[in-house]
Each structure stands twice: as C-alpha cells, then as structure tokens.
Symmetry: C2
Subunit: 209 residues, 2 copies
C-alpha cells in the first residue's frame, strides 16, 4: 500500500538537506513568480541568496514567500491514469522573508548556502568585502514548514484490479557524474576531495561519508 | 565559457517536453503557495489537473499563476563560491489560468497530461464519466513563456585564475530504473512496452525511440 502523509520537523530537515535547489514563489505586481534557487538551512531558518539586484529576492524581501523543495522518486502507474501519481518527498516553507544585514550572520549564511551543495567554502578563494556587499541574503523562519511524502505502489479500486491492466512503479535516480575541470583551469590543480567524492553519489547521500 | 540566456518558442517546447513535474505558484490569502504538479502542453496551452477539491488549482482558477519547469544539469564550481552556479534549463510560464469545461477538450487535456509522462492512456483502463467529473483541469496559455538555460564552465575573474583554486563542473544525471510491478498485480499481466522502454533512459530521452 502507498504511504502518503504529512511529517514532522525531522523529515523537514532531512528533505531540505537532501535537496539541491528550491522553487521560490513570491507575489509581484504581475502575479506570482516562481524561480529555482540555491538555499540552505540551520535549526531556525532557511536562507536564500543572490545578487543585490535579484528581482525575486527584492520582490520577496519583507513579504510572504513560499519555498518548495521536491525530490521526485518515481512514477506511480495505476490501472487507470486517474489514479496515477508520483512518489516524491516535498517540503513547503511559507512565511515572511527578511534580509540578513549583520556581517557575521551574513557570512555564516553564505557559507551554509555554499556548503549545503558541497563543502568547498574553506577550500575556495576567501570572500572579499566586495563579494559580501554585492550579495543579498534573505532568511525565512522554519516555523511554517511542512513535509509531504508519497511512497510505494499505486492504489487502485477493487473493480479495476479484476481487469488485466498493468500497475507498478518506475523508480527515478539522480546521480553526480565525474567532475570535469574548467577549460581555463591551471594545469596541476587537483579536484578538491569533497568534489571528487560526489562522483556516482545521489544528492541524498552526498553529505554522508 | 558559459552560455546563459533567454531562448525562444522551440526551446520552451523542448524543455517542457523533457520535464516530469512543474512547480506551480498561486496567490492565496496566506501568501504565495508553490506545489509540484504533473502537466502537459500542446501548441497553445499548458495543462494542469487535479481532484475537484485541489486547493492549489481552485486558488489558481481564473487568476494569474506561474508554472516553472526546471532541469538541473550540473553543479558549477568557481574559484570563489560567489561565482558558483548551476547548469540548468528552466521554463517559466505566467498568465491567467482557466478551467477546461468542454468534455472533448477535457478528455484531450487529460490524455496529454497522462501521456506526457509516458504514453499509457491507450493501454490503461478506459476513463469513466465519474473519472472526468471528479477531475479539475486548468489551461494556461503559452503566450508569456520564457526559457532560461545555463551551460558550460564557471566564469571567474582574471585575478582569481592566478590562484590555485579548483574550478569545474559536476554533471547530474537522472535515470529511470527498471519498473517494479505492484504487489497486488495479477500474475502474468505484462509490463506495457512504453513503460518497459523507460528503463535506463533519462527524462529527456523518454519519448525518443
């Protein structure tokens, strides 16, 4: 049978940690706008960053926004397309987003957003004052966060099971391939261990050793 | 060098056809709401469907909505995290969504949404009048649709290239695994060819023979 339902704080954290991008929705004078963005979280907040001029972040600052992170785990095919579904893990965070101004808090948030993908902040070129100045960081409290998960087989009506229609699941897997060095990389600079370790992993397991 | 930019009608169609789910944003009294949904398109419209009681579709009917489809193709790692990026293909469609009422148009839209994932409408249990009654379909014109694509290497500043920091790309690939029949499937019912053919393919190539 399928399990589908809402989950608590631990599932929210787990799903957010496994994700690479969020789809961020804001209201604009032209209606809602949804764009993909990098993100990170700590125990209290979710963080988004972009250029100072970023239209989405500027529209979202000080207003209600919605940040949605979805993992698609499989296609769920029932005897009837009207019962088709997807297996997925999804977190929706809603609330008012605020700009992070304080220097230490902003640096911490930017390190979190970088290392959320892969921990390379400490092995990259150290940030400059100009880097920080040119970057806008928003924080969104994790108070209104809910997780929804669907897993398992399709659920058909009894009368449909009597028929000879197929039903099942097609799993989906996302993996990192081998890293390719930039064409302009100086010869002999090694790939950081954290990056090399991604190869053949899934986003879900990228942080586990 | 990286290519990043906006593209036209063909790229919009190609990116929408490769996608499995969209992130749909609507305005609600509690602020924006963004949820993942199945979708399909024809030459003029994008289609969304759900149960009659679907909160998102009911909030979006007759109002401005935003439908965003994103493919994440790779992590782009620069010498400085402030130039990190992602390689992606993204389509954003904005506009007013309308309910599809006319029976033939509604059936056509529901077949499109089903077969967009994998063409199994014709080999599944034929729809009943109740199936149609219980399903809400919205259409969104593809007039305000834009595609954005980022591909290729990171772009660093000249002074950073002098340093010994690594830069490159970590590609991401999503594949369908072998289908698993439902535990309650009657013995001997074969997997439909269209479903069996998905195995080891990527969403991008699922419709090509």
């Amino acid at each position: 049978m399928a399990e589908r339902g809402r989950y608590g704080r631990d599932e929210v954290a787990e799903i957010l940690d496994a994700g690479l991008i969020a789809h961020v929705g804001v209201d604009t004078p032209d209606g809602p706008l949804v764009l993909p963005m990098a993100y990170a979280r700590d125990e209290e907040n979710l963080y988004l960053h972009g250029a100072l001029a970023n239209h989405l972040l500027n529209s979202g600052e000080g207003t209600e926004i919605c940040v949605t992170v979805t993992h698609l785990d499989g296609l769920v095919m029932a005897r009837t397309p009207f019962h088709n579904s997807m297996n997925y893990r999804c977190v929706v965070v809603r609330g008012r987003a605020y700009r992070v101004e304080e220097a230490a808090a902003k640096e911490r948030a930017l390190k979190l957003v970088t290392d959320h993908i892969v921990a390379i902040w400490d092995t990259s070129r150290p940030p400059s004052a100009e880097d920080f100045r040119a970057t806008l960081v928003l924080q969104l409290p994790l108070l209104e966060a809910s997780a929804k998960v669907r897993a398992g087989d399709p659920v058909d009506d009894a009368e449909d099971m009597a028929g000879d229609w197929w039903a099942g699941v097609v799993p989906l897997t996302t993996r990192f391939e081998l890293p390719t060095s930039a064409a302009d990389l100086t010869e002999g600079i090694p790939t950081p261990t954290a990056v090399a370790n991604l190869a053949h992993r899934t986003p879900d397991t990228r942080h586990s050793s």
